[in-house]
Amino acid sequence: MAHEGMVHALTEIHRVLTPQGWLADLRPDRRTAMGKRWRGLPRVYCLSTPGGGTLAGFLQKENFADHRASDRAAREVLRRELFTLQSAETFPFRFYFHTLSHLEDHLATWWTNTTLPALTRRRLRLLMGRYPASQIVVIDTMRLDVMRKR
């Protein structure tokens, strides 16, 4: 969705909300990843025992244009005083994949803006060969911004 479309969608939400209504904006947090090579990117672990994971690497995002546009749209409706920001926080969101093929299928179908770097793939293969009952965990950082209609 382009920036104008996002602002329009937020304006529509403002219209259908009751006075003092709540808007919860849930999305991946890429603020620390922009301009920095690894920080803020989804982390990939090989989980060999419950609670016992080994970091294999990171997923690489191709670009952050959509994230920047979302941030700009949210800032714009706050500036226009349609909403007030009540709280902002981040939290970990975990995806569990049974096998490397499941992760690769998911990347091809849903995370088309994301790649699995060759080094991370190699480490995953090595770790999963060492621990055949293991699974893959991708930990992404999500953000929740809560706003209220003015």
Partner: protein, 99 residues
């Protein structure tokens, strides 16, 4: 999708519940996808109207509604840019990975 589990710890809905008064509320969810978060919200709120522009995802979401949530959760094809709801009709809206 087979072979994938998303947020089995339910961190997302727990964080939401801590920050937004969901209990007993009528909720509009925008960008519901296959209804993963909708089904979790359905156990807490009074009702959820959930929309997504992807017709296949909405069909999948409808197939996966558990019997206990039928009548409480409604899925529709729709976009956040043109909401087909009257003014002032929801106390809570959730943008589900969709802004």
């Amino acid at each position: 999708m087979r072979g994938v589990r998303k947020d089995p710890e339910r961190t997302e809905v727990r964080v939401l519940m801590r920050r937004v008064p969901l209990a007993g509320a009528r909720v509009l969810e925008i960008g519901c996808g296959d209804g993963r978060l909708t089904r979790r919200l359905g156990g807490v709120v009074r009702s959820v109207a959930a929309i997504d522009p992807d017709r296949e995802q909405i069909a999948r979401a409808n197939r996966m509604i558990p019997a206990r949530l039928r009548g409480k959760v409604r899925f529709e094809v729709g976009s956040g840019e043109t909401l087909r709801f009257p003014d002032r009709s929801f106390p809570i809206a959730v943008l589900s990975w969709s802004l």
